[in-house]
């Protein structure tokens, strides 16, 4: 059983796998791309690229601080480095290096954080990136993307390489349902409306898009019409889509696999407060560190479920 199944979505690849395949296949199109790894390339899936382009791949060992600054140096000499590690280690260990060697000099470094959120499961909270979106969003000029499935991950990977400037791409470990089997338009900073509705809008990203679709189906059965926006870009946030949703549906639910501070919820709240302040409810993994366990069990225990979104939608439409 997986969230999204009830909506008829087929289980596809993990976003990290889609990224790894995309990066490898884009290697010829983007000859300046190089990878810089902290010895987890077989987990982050930069490994396929490194095998095809060994002279453009650097494994600098378990030293994330150095890894990020080396990438800054490569970028300042004309390369497009893709730096990949677990989201938690990349953003938390190397935060100052991202600030000083990437963001402040505004260099064209592509940060990729895999194993984001609690759905990594058994390895436990030390490996779970639950602060990464907040930390990445805090840097002036940083683009922050959280794709929801394999299709948008491939598009986000290419968009990231096309974009000139620092970006953060957040990836997950487990296989996730395919949302865009028929394709989709993908543009940095532009939300995708996955489903239209009038009564409430669920704004989600990452694995929570599929979960939101299950919730929308349940609510529809109760006569509540739900719009679902895939807010794959947290920064720059799509102010226009948020304003439109707030005006047209008069209530918002934000769902993300992240802690409550500084992530998608905060970005949506700031945006809506400037344009069309409406009641907003928040679904996230809570102000806590989770625990080891099976991914599905963790999502249920820590409230990242269709029913959590249903409850949030019910309460927010009554405020």
């Amino acid at each position: 059983m997986y969230f999204g199944e009830a909506s008829g979505l087929k289980l596809g690849k993990a976003t990290r796998d889609a990224f790894g395949e995309a990066l490898k296949s884009l290697g010829d199109k983007f000859p300046n791309v190089v990878t810089v790894d902290g010895d987890v390339g077989n987990s982050t899936r930069t490994e396929p690229f490194a095998k095809v382009f060994p002279e453009r791949a650097f494994n600098v060992g378990i030293a994330e601080s150095n890894m990020v600054s080396v990438a800054g140096g490569l970028a300042s000499a004309g390369k497009t480095p893709v730096v990949a590690s677990f989201a938690a280690f990349l953003l938390c260990n190397a935060y100052d290096q991202i600030r000083m060697s990437v963001a402040f000099p505004n260099l064209n470094v592509k940060l990729v954080g895999s194993h984001a959120g609690i759905s990594i499961g058994e390895d436990g909270p030390s490996q779970m990136g639950i602060e990464d979106v907040a930390l990445a969003s805090s840097f002036p000029g940083m683009v922050v993307m959280v794709p929801s499935d394999e299709i948008t991950t491939v598009k986000a990977t290419e968009a990231m390489l096309e974009h000139v400037g620092p970006t953060y791409l957040r990836l997950g470990r487990p296989a996730v349902p395919v949302i865009y089997e028929d394709g989709c338009d993908f543009e940095i900073g532009k939300a995708i409306q996955v489903r239209d509705g009038d009564d409430v809008t669920v704004i989600a990203n990452g694995i929570m898009v599929a979960t939101a679709l299950d919730a929308a189906k349940q609510l529809e059965a109760e006569g509540v019409s739900v719009r679902v926006l895939d807010m794959h870009t947290v920064k720059p946030i799509d102010d226009a889509a948020i304003a439109k949703a707030a005006r047209e549906t008069q209530a918002l639910v934000v769902a993300e696999e992240h802690g409550p501070a500084g992530g998608l919820g905060a970005a949506v709240a700031i945006s809506a407060s400037k344009s069309a302040p409406v009641p907003i409810a928040y679904v996230n993994s809570g102000d806590c560190y989770a625990e080891s366990g099976d991914p599905q069990g963790l999502l249920e225990k820590y409230g990242l479920t269709p029913s959590a979104i249903v409850d949030a939608a019910r309460s927010v439409t009554q405020r």
Binding site: V34, A63, G72, G73, S76, A77, G78, K79, M100, S101
Partner: protein
């Protein structure tokens, strides 16, 4: 402009170092803040790099891709870098007097987005050597023979990232990379040996597989000889442990003030005057 390899004499370089020291003292006193003593210790090395024929650069084309690069990892010592850059023609020497003032690209710590010719934005210690490795790797991919020089403070060696970088540069056998440790013996609150003693540097760095020399970094002859020796090593990275004195060139003035560290503060007007007399 320095794209030829003609070597000026030691006397010429010493004369240039004196001019740069005058700039350092004047600009920080004018700014009312800054790190003159940390800049003065590094003056011989920076002067030799920019004016001794050891770096190929073109001040009119700061983005020339085949240039050699200098990174001031101890970013607070940027007055010596700004002074050298002005003398090299990156901008007029009058601009040195805008140091740290609103609107000036000569910020309190180097900012590559504001000033052409700055190779890395520094000021949070410990990152310059890693950045230099990235630049050296990029040049290697592009089959450029560019060299990368990184100046690190001895206090800065306390940052673990520097040691991560030392190991990484050895892994990639970066013969184009030279690190200069400006061992002036002081950091913000006192003697480096008292705060966190990481000496001796030479055997430690050698043990990673680097070529290392230890010199008197305020002796221009030794500096030039060390840079020549470093240039001859092409199969591995090189380090120059440059033993210096913080505030070298105006030491009697600092002695009189009873503060041989004199960290992070400009000379007051009267001391500035005395210092400039010593440097005239």
């Amino acid at each position: 402009m320095s794209t030829d390899t003609t070597r000026p004499s030691i006397d010429d370089l010493q004369a240039k170092a004196k001019v740069i020291r005058q700039h350092i003292v004047r600009m920080t006193t004018e700014a009312g803040s800054g790190h003159p003593s940390s800049s003065l210790s590094a003056t011989e090395v920076v002067t030799a790099l920019y004016f001794g024929g050891y770096m190929q650069y073109d001040a009119n084309r700061p983005d020339w891709n085949a240039r050699d690069r200098f990174i001031m990892s101890k970013g607070h010592a940027c007055p010596v870098l700004y002074a050298a850059m002005a003398e090299a023609g990156y901008f007029p020497t009058e601009d040195l007097m805008t140091l740290r003032k609103l609107g000036s690209p000569l910020e309190g710590h180097p900012n590559l987005r504001r000033l052409d010719g700055i190779e890395a934005s520094t000021g949070s210690l410990g990152q310059g050597l890693s950045i230099g490795i990235g630049q050296a790797l990029a040049c290697r991919i592009d089959r450029l023979e560019s060299k990368v020089f990184v100046m690190i403070g001895d206090g800065e060696m306390g940052e673990g990232q520097v040691w991560e970088a030392i190991a990484t540069a050895a892994k990639y056998q970066l013969g184009s990379l030279t690190a200069i440790i400006d061992q002036n013996g002081f950091q913000q609150t006192g003697a480096t040996g008292d705060v966190l003693d990481l000496t001796p540097f030479q055997p430690k760095i050698e043990s990673f597989g680097w070529h290392v020399q230890t010199i008197n970094g305020n002796d221009m002859g030794e500096v030039v000889a060390a840079l020549d020796a470093a240039a001859a090593v092409t199969d591995r990275p090189t380090a120059i442990v440059s033993k210096t004195q913080k505030g070298f060139g105006i030491l009697p003035v600092l002695e009189e003030a009873g503060d041989l560290n004199f960290h992070g503060k400009p000379l007051p007007a009267d001391m500035c005057e005395k210092a400039l007399e010593l440097l005239s």
